[in-house]
């Protein structure tokens, strides 16, 4: 990934929680307890998910957070793109190579090609897993 952040992990956690607790009322404090993190940190990640149209929240006393789409229609690729928005690239190319060198002048292009292919396989893999399937097979199914 671009960075080693846990934001993707926490984002998946949030979405699974919302699906699991779809009948109940979920707050950022409740999520923070489940994730074991600060409510503000949860809200920071929520912002990205909201922006990506994956969750929606209401304000006020009885505020609640819920999925904005069916869990069957939210894939991990959606989550990946929402959280890695800034640096979706798994690898970083060193671009400032020596243009006068036969090797240096071609490396960035070469690496770009490799990375694009790898990136595709990652995204393809992620697009095959939905929040629904995670909750159904991994949380409700087990116990």
């Amino acid at each position: 990934m671009a960075n080693r952040s846990q934001q993707f992990s926490v984002a998946v956690h949030i979405l699974c929680f919302l699906e699991f607790n779809k009948e109940g009322r979920t707050t950022s404090e409740l999520l923070a307890m489940s994730v074991n993190a600060n409510p503000a940190a949860i809200r920071r990640i929520m912002r990205r998910l909201t922006k990506a149209g994956l969750i929606a929240s209401t304000l006020g006393t009885n505020a609640a957070i819920r999925l904005a789409k069916e869990a069957t229609h939210i894939t991990l690729l959606d989550v990946y793109r929402a959280t890695m928005e800034d640096n979706p690239e798994a690898f970083v190319v060193h671009k400032h190579t020596n243009p006068a060198c036969p090797v240096g002048s071609k490396m960035p292009f070469l690496l770009e090609g490799v990375y694009t292919k790898v990136q595709s396989t990652i995204e393809n893999e992620l697009s095959g897993v939905t929040i629904y399937s995670l909750v159904k097979d991994g949380i409700i199914g087990v116990d």
Copy 2:
């Protein structure tokens, strides 16, 4: 990836250079010029490649760096493992979830399963590309 370093990119660059210049004498200074980096930075990456058995170097006045294996037998997966040695994991799992929560208690395990699968596809993809093929098709072939 684990981190956003360019070490993998530079490592591939180094290996391609060595293959391309296999008839000539390659020094860390020459590599530094091609990569456009500091010789010490090159040597820092070289250390990992040496440790992984991908390159070998001699000391002294006529010191030289060369591939320790045939370029046809060095895949990008070898390079990936050599440079990402410390954190070979593409994703980071948030492990300290709430064990008392039905969702929190299962998330680390769930995510681990997903990440393992993704990691496999990445490594599978990387294992299909050799330094030889990169140099042949991307450097010598083009011009």
